[in-house]
């Protein structure tokens, strides 16, 4: 894969009363283009995604009506990763040299709702009416079983949250910029056992954009291109444990995160041991912990020592969710995967300021996971 990222941009995640998601998408796109040293007129292919905005491509009115193909897609929490993959595939297929991927969202406060009807996600209405259609239940139940099977303790959950909010406190654009002490996390209200209030991310608002081009033309535009070494999208196999599932088989299979990570490492020609900075989907601390193993950074159960020893901190062996992740930034679903790419590019270009990973990181990793069992992984390097 010979592709390079020229620029990235954010509408920082948080709450932006009175600002529409389309406006946030425009802000992120302009920031990415400024970073790349390009204008909208240089863009030949565009891809956008959102949960709340039916047609995010309508933002083109504010960018310039240049007649380019502008595709929209939605794949739950994996939307951002799949936007970048679609841009990469289009360039590789010869449809153009320069593409932009833009994700945006603006969610109401409180837990995500599946909406009035479950027909749109292929489930019976009874499933929602009886109180089973909630992601936090899944997060909690997969975490509890994992703790039971692999000896992960509640301490590991709390320490993972401490690390997230600490990283957020060092990140100027983070939503939650206040470090939270261990005891406050450990004593926060139980939401879905064993997960507590400060173990969870919140739905939020924001946008992120990435400008991608053919690697052989990247140096024309920037002195600091980031190479997209791999971008892989996978859906669940029969037997993986997924959210919003009225049943699952006893026969088990690796999660889509495992499939996507293994394929991405193979495509990139590197292994988990080569990764200097990683972003993994952390809807709550349980999934950050499980994803560390699913993505190949440790074996099941090793997270207990890894987290206790600070190996996932900024100066650890595998710095993880260096901008505070979803816990400190919240999750605008359509934008989330591209925020991870923005953060890794910022780290690889040495521009992360107070939350910069030391030692000039060269290779980074992003991972999103979501309903109905989808995952996108990228490997990036300078």
């Amino acid at each position: 894969m010979d592709l390079a990222i020229l620029g990235t941009g954010l509408q920082p995640f948080g709450r932006h009363d009175g600002v529409t998601p389309i406006e946030m998408g425009v802000t992120a796109a302009q920031a990415a283009l400024d970073d790349a040293g390009l204008g909208w007129g240089d863009v030949q292919l565009a891809f956008s995604g959102s949960l709340e905005v039916l047609q995010p491509d309508t933002m083109i009115r504010h960018m310039g009506l240049t007649g380019i193909p502008f595709t929209t897609l939605y794949n739950g929490c994996a939307t951002g990763g799949n936007l970048l993959l679609s841009a990469a595939n289009a360039i590789t297929a010869g449809a153009g040299d320069i593409a932009i991927a833009i994700g945006m969202d603006k969610h109401p406060r409180g837990a995500f709702s599946v909406g009035d009807t479950l027909e749109s996600i292929g489930l019976g209405q009874w499933y929602g009416e009886t109180g089973l259609a909630l992601n936090p239940q899944y997060f909690a139940m997969k975490t509890l079983r994992y703790m039971h099977d692999h000896g992960i303790t509640e301490e590991c959950l709390h320490r993972t949250a401490v690390k997230a909010f600490h990283n957020g406190s060092l990140t100027d654009h983070a939503w939650r910029r206040k470090a939270i002490p261990y005891d406050e996390i450990a004593n926060s209200a139980m939401v879905c056992d064993p997960l507590r209030k400060f173990h969870f991310c919140s739905p939020s608002e924001g946008a992120a954009a990435v400008v991608l081009c053919r690697a052989d033309v990247a140096r024309r535009y920037t002195s600091q291109p980031v190479q997209l070494r791999a971008d892989v999208f996978r859906t669940r196999l029969y037997g993986s444990f997924e959210t919003l599932s009225p049943s699952m088989p006893v026969k088990s299979a690796p999660s889509p995160s495992v499939q996507a990570s293994q394929a991405a490492f193979e495509m990139a020609g590197v292994g988990p041991e080569d990764i200097d900075v990683a972003q993994v989907q952390d809807t709550e601390v349980g999934h950050e912990i499980m994803h560390l193993a699913e993505c190949g950074f440790c074996k099941d159960g090793e997270q207990e020592a890894l987290v206790r020893d600070g190996e996932t901190a900024l100066d650890g062996r595998i710095p993880t969710n260096t901008d505070g992740g979803l816990l400190a930034n919240g999750e605008p679903i359509g934008a989330s995967g591209l925020r991870q790419v923005h953060e890794v590019c910022t780290q690889l270009r040495g521009r992360a300021g107070r939350h910069q990973v030391p030692g000039k990181p060269k290779t980074g990793f992003t991972h999103v996971y979501g309903f109905p069992g989808v995952s996108c992984v990228t490997v990036l390097s300078v």
Binding site: A133, Q137, R145, S247, K251
Partner: protein
């Protein structure tokens, strides 16, 4: 097996087989690979064959995992959200090789444990516009002798 209150109505019939007095869950079994799915569906998610057969599932199993829903669920939850009472949810592993997600009748975390024996029951969880209890399936711990 708990007895349903008089005048109660079930959630839509999809998941149910049998009667409210003697409830069963309706799943499907693939004739080609033998995998069981709940609720019933035509296509087999394991081997891609079409034309699975409907089957009634066992009423006893073990608790694979669980949690407590401690905040009122958003729409389309039909239960009371103003005087919300937390309830437990879990996956019950049945002999057919399928784990069924279900409300649990026991919501005290101290009385729930992975691996415990559970049995199918009927539980009221909402009241409809006419004042009838709306009931759904739930699994109850089997009391130790």
């Amino acid at each position: 097996m708990s007895t349903p209150p008089s005048g109660s109505v079930p959630i839509d019939a999809g998941p149910f087989a049998g009667s409210l007095e003697s409830p069963r869950l309706r799943g499907s079994r693939c004739g080609a690979c033998g995998e069981t799915t709940f609720p019933a569906q035509r296509g087999c998610p394991s081997c891609t064959a079409q034309g699975c057969d409907e089957v009634e599932l066992s009423t006893r199993g073990t608790l694979y995992t669980w949690t407590i829903q401690r905040f009122p669920p958003p729409v389309p939850y039909a239960g009371d959200t103003e005087d919300f009472v937390p309830f437990a949810v879990g996956y019950i592993e049945l002999p057919e090789g399928v784990r069924v997600e279900s409300r649990l009748t026991e919501s005290d975390p101290a009385r729930l444990a992975i691996g415990m024996e559970m049995e199918l029951a009927i539980e009221p969880f909402a009241v409809d516009d006419e004042g009838h209890d709306v009931v759904t399936f739930a699994f109850a711990p089997i009391a130790a002798d």
